[in-house]
Structure formats: structure tokens, C-alpha cells
């Protein structure tokens, strides 16, 4: 998955496990950028009596680098506080939650936001989270509850923290069954096994359908993100691009005391999770480095550059599909560093590679999600982003509907190498490979996802526990 349970240690700590990061110019408010960081993966909607919530013991952060050194110039820190109205009931809610301040909302969270910029902290506290989406009796008018939790900070940002429908989609079962992509399974080498059901192509299956996540979302004026406070309007200007990532940290020491029923944390904060570009720690970073990668700042990513430049998956594709990737196989055989992937994932794409576009932040190799804020939102988006000729999509930032699995599969398969080596001809399969979850490049709903919203916070209404959807139907219609 994008970054769900992507490393051995963090897979056992879901409250601190970042799952997806999005950054895009807000289509309905293009003077702003929306950044979304998701945590707590794969939540089944019916999760009572203890519904999902952020960790009071976790420090969540959204970081922005606007000068290309891989170090945060602006950080938003989030700390959560859980309050229980009545500890003598087992109920999350003691009646219908009609409003976000309803006394029936028995276990509620609030949070503080601390913005660090140029060494100066600004703090906002007591911001409410909505409840989880339980069902028609407990959380009627869920859209109103979620909408009431959208808060405007005094410095102009919109902020939201709470449950949303998972927006990421991937055929996880196929990918990790030895790369058996269903639309191409008839071409798989199958390791010599006779598996009749793999004899013909099949559509993908979305492993993340009908589940929820917990979202931290910000909508920030562009002028608050540039290094000089200017409004980014020139695509070719270095100052128009930013790098974004999210982190979660825990305190260094946890004590679990007998007969107390709760732990106690102490000591400085230690980073245990980070995420920028999707799927990097998932499939590029080797097992033995995954949790270490999570602990490192982007400014230290040079040490991992070999795994971006020579991805193991790039070597595997010609092995798994022996007839499909001869040119990639030859490229791999030459031991060529993948300058295309290094640019996309580490430095940003320099000018001169894609006509009229760049999101280069500088030579520092730092895995941050690069967004050129001067690129206007697309009026007819293509879920393949840059590969589909849509400069407003991944890897220029990432929108909620972008088909990042297909984009990265095709990039690793060699499609983007032709951008840096004009003599290279990508294999035909490299331009077609996919896990098969979008019907076309203009499909911005994607199989098995709840409908996205056209406005903040853009991710769909969380699935309700009462409904426990068993098909691909979207959650109940709502404005939030």
C-alpha cells in the first residue's frame, strides 16, 4: 500500500503509522495549497466499542521545505487530547450525536496546532475532532458533524482532523503475490506453477476499499508557503516549488506499570514514521532499512539514493514478465542509475525535461513530495498525472484520486527513463502496466473508493459502521 504498514516496527503501531500524503493546489480555491496526511490504516467501519482515534501520545507533523535543503522551514505540529464525559459507561456515545458539542458524544478528542516558522511558534488549541461515523442512529447528519470540525486558524489556514474514507486504492493482494498483476497475469512466469485461473487477464481488486483512515488536513495560502512570501505564478521559478512530508514521533521511553492499566511516556520525541512520495518505503527501501528510513529526516536521504536509482522492482519486472520488458532488462543489465527516478522522488524534476514544467528544489536528495504551486489545477484531470500530460498531478504533488500505483509502476518499468535519455525506447508494456483499478485515465472516482469531495477536506465521508459496505457503493451522500 502507499505506506500502510510498510515497515516492520511501524506496522505494529498503527496510531503512529502514516498511510498517505497528498499536496495539491486546491481546485476550488487555487490561491491555496491543500496538504493531507493520513494515519491509522485499514479501519473497518464497524469498530465499536472503541472507535479509532488519534494517539494522545503521538506527535504528528506536516513539514514544508521551501528552499531545497530537505529541512523543514515550516512545520505544523498536532497534539491530541482525549476527554471522556462519563467513565462509568462503556458507550462511545450515549445517544445520537446531533452536533459536535452534543453531550451524548462521550469520548471526544480535541487537538492543538503549533506552527513553527522562522523559529516562531504560534499555537491554537482546543480544536474539536468529529466523531467516527458510527451509523444512522449514533451519527445522523454526519456531514454536518464533519463540517463543524473544519476550523479556520487566525493565520488563514483551514484545518481538519478526523476520520475520512480511504481514498487510496491498490491491488495489494496481487502485487504481493509475487507481482502477479491481474491485467497481465497471463504473461507472468508463475515460477513454473500450473495455475489455470491466471491464464487470462482480470481486473484488479481494491484491497483498501470500504475502510477508513484518520486525516489531518490543512489548506494554506500559497503566499504563506513560499520562502519570500511571494505568490507563486511563474512555473519556471525555483521559489514556486515546495517539498512536503509528514512525520509521527513518540517519546523515547514508555513504561507500562502493573495495576494501572495505562502506560506513561517520558523523554524527547523520537521520529517513528515519515512519508512523502507514495510507495517508497513500501517497495524501494529494503526490509532491513525500512524502520530506520522512517526515523531519518529527508535531508539525510542521500544514504538511501541507491535504492531509488536501482530499484529492486525494476530488476524484478523482466524476471516476472520475461517477454514484456526486454528494453528494461537491457537497461538494468548496463547498471544504469535511474536519473529519472532520482529526479521524481528526490530532487524534483529540473527544467528542460518536460516542456513547460519543473518542480526542482535543488541538488539535495531529499524524499519530499514536490509541488510546483504555480501550476494551475487541471479543469479535466488525468489520474496518471504527469504521465497523462496533466501537470497538476503526481509527481507534481499528489491529488486524492491520482493513480499513483500505476504511475510508479510505469515509471519504474522505464517510461520516464526516456525523459532523461532520448535514445532509450520504453517497452510497450511499460506504458500499459497497471494493477487495474481505474477504468481509464479520466476515471477520478476509482474502483472501491467512496466519492471524493470537491472541496476541503476532499476525502470522502467515512464509511459508517452500521452499513459495513460489502460492495463498492460510496458512503451515504453528504457534503462532508
Amino acid at each position: 500500500m502507499s505506506s500502510h504498514r510498510e515497515a516492520p516496527q511501524i506496522s505494529k503501531d498503527p496510531v503512529a503509522d502514516s498511510t498517505d500524503l497528498y499536496a495539491f493546489v486546491s481546485p476550488d480555491n487555487p490561491e491555496t495549497v491543500t496538504i493531507i496526511a493520513n494515519y491509522i490504516p485499514l479501519q473497518p467501519p464497524a469498530s465499536g466499542p472503541n472507535f479509532y482515534e488519534f494517539g494522545d501520545d503521538v506527535l504528528y507533523a506536516i513539514n514544508i521545505d521551501n528552499n531545497g535543503d530537505g529541512i523543514a522551514d515550516i512545520s505544523y505540529l498536532f497534539r491530541f487530547t482525549t476527554e471522556i464525559g462519563n467513565v462509568n459507561t462503556f458507550l462511545y456515545n450515549t445517544g445520537p450525536i446531533q452536533s459536535i458539542t452534543d453531550s451524548h458524544f462521550n469520548r471526544r478528542q480535541t487537538y492543538s496546532v503549533t506552527k513553527y516558522e522562522r523559529g516562531l511558534p504560534k499555537v491554537w488549541s482546543g480544536i474539536p475532532c468529529p466523531p467516527c461515523n458510527i451509523g444512522p442512529l449514533s451519527t445522523p447528519n454526519y456531514g454536518n458533524l464533519a463540517g463543524a470540525a473544519i476550523t479556520t486558524l487566525s493565520s488563514g489556514e483551514l484545518v481538519f482532523a478526523g476520520q475520512r474514507a480511504e481514498g487510496f486504492y491498490v491491488d495489494l493482494g496481487a502485487i504481493f503475490d509475487l507481482g502477479d498483476l491481474r491485467p497481465f497475469e497471463q504473461l507472468h512466469n508463475t515460477f513454473g506453477l500450473n495455475v489455470p485461473e491466471l491464464a487470462k487477464p482480470a481486473p484488479g481488486l481494491n484491497a483498501t476499499k470500504s475502510v477508513n483512515v484518520h486525516t489531518i488536513a490543512l489548506q494554506i495560502p500559497k503566499t504563506a508557503l513560499t520562502s519570500d512570501g511571494s505568490n507563486p505564478t511563474v512555473v519556471g521559478a525555483r521559489s514556486s516549488s515546495i517539498g512536503v512530508w509528514t512525520t509521527a514521533s513518540r517519546q523515547a521511553v514508555r513504561m507500562v506499570a502493573a495495576n494501572r492499566g495505562a502506560g506513561e511516556d517520558t523523554g524527547p520525541w523520537v521520529q517513528v514514521s515519515r512519508l512523502a512520495n507514495p510507495l517508497v518505503n513500501e517497495v524501494l527501501i529494503p526490509m532491513g532499512l525500512k524502520d530506520y528510513w522512517n526515523s531519518v529526516d529527508p535531508s539525510g536521504d542521500k544514504q538511501f539514493a541507491i535504492h531509488y536509482a536501482r530499484p529492486e522492482l525494476g530488476d524484478l519486472l523482466p524476471v516476472l514478465y520475461p517477454s514484456a520488458f526486454p528494453n528494461l532488462n537491457a537497461l538494468n543489465g548496463r547498471g544504469t542509475a535511474r536519473a529519472d527516478l532520482e529526479a521524481i522522488l528526490l530532487t524534483g524534476i529540473p527544467a528542460g525535461i518536460i516542456p513547460g514544467f519543473q518542480n526542482y528544489l535543488g541538488p539535495t536528495q531529499a524524499d519530499t513530495l514536490k509541488l510546483n504551486m504555480a501550476v494551475a489545477p487541471s479543469s479535466s484531470p488525468n489520474n496518471l498525472g504527469l504521465l497523462g500530460g496533466d501537470l497538476a498531478g503526481f509527481p507534481n504533488g499528489r491529488r486524492v484520486f491520482d493513480d499513483v500505483v500505476t504511475i510508479e509502476l510505469r515509471a519504474i518499468a522505464g517510461v520516464t527513463y526516456a525523459l532523461v535519455d532520448k535514445s532509450y525506447t520504453p517497452d510497450q508494456a511499460a506504458g500499459e502496466v497497471t494493477d487495474g483499478l481505474t477504468s481509464s485515465a479520466t476515471d477520478t472516482t476509482a474502483m472501491g473508493t467512496a466519492n471524493y469531495l470537491s472541496r476541503f477536506p476532499y476525502l470522502g465521508t467515512p464509511y459508517a459502521g452500521f452499513d459495513i459496505p460489502s460492495d463498492d457503493s460510496p458512503a451515504m451522500a453528504s457534503t462532508y
Binding site: 523543514a72 511558534p121 512525520t247 521511553v253 523520537v270
Partner: protein, 99 residues
């Protein structure tokens, strides 16, 4: 890396830290400045002060982690801070307590 046998933890309850949380104590700058910070402290002399006085104003536990027996390096965690001391005598006393 020191092995488990060379590590020791000591939890001591009812001491407290000035509850200057993250927001108040964080140094200026990016989040990286907040993470993994440890300050050095001089070796501690035999403490004869009243423990209750020392604990005044603290809130929460204090945890000592013997990082290296040979040098007597001890990390002391409290609140959102880590203070590193090097005191073989204290390390020895702690180790004797768990023998």
C-alpha cells in the same frame, strides 16, 4: 551497541517536571530540532540535598538508562527532555541495586 545485559532502567515515581510541554519548550526552528535532543550535564557530585526539594516543581516520572557501564554514561529522561550524565559511581550504585 550495548547489549541488554549492559542496560538498566530505573523508574522513579512522583517526581515532576515543569510541565513545560513541547509547545513551550521547543527550540526555535523546524521539527527536527525537537526530536532526539539530548543535553549534556556535568558529572553529578554526591547529592546531599533534600530529595523533596529537588522534586519540587517536577511532574511525571524520571527514568535513568545506563547506556554504557564502562564510562558510567547515563541518560536521564524526564518530561520531554533527555540529559546525559557520566558518573561511574551512580551507575555502580544502580547496578548494585539490581544485582
Amino acid at each position: 551497541m550495548t547489549g541488554l545485559s549492559r542496560r538498566g532502567f530505573l523508574g522513579k515515581g512522583s517526581l515532576s517536571v515543569a510541565a513545560a510541554g513541547l509547545l513551550a519548550t521547543a527550540p526555535a526552528g523546524a521539527i527536527s530540532a525537537l526530536l532526539g535532543s539530548a543535553s549534556e550535564a556535568p558529572a553529578v557530585e554526591e547529592e546531599t540535598a533534600n530529595l523533596a526539594d529537588l522534586g519540587s516543581g517536577l511532574d511525571g516520572s524520571v527514568v535513568a538508562h545506563i547506556r554504557d557501564i564502562g564510562s558510567g554514561e547515563i541518560s536521564v529522561f524526564t518530561g520531554e527532555r533527555e540529559v546525559v550524565i557520566r558518573d561511574p559511581a551512580i551507575a555502580a550504585r544502580l547496578l548494585r541495586a539490581v544485582r
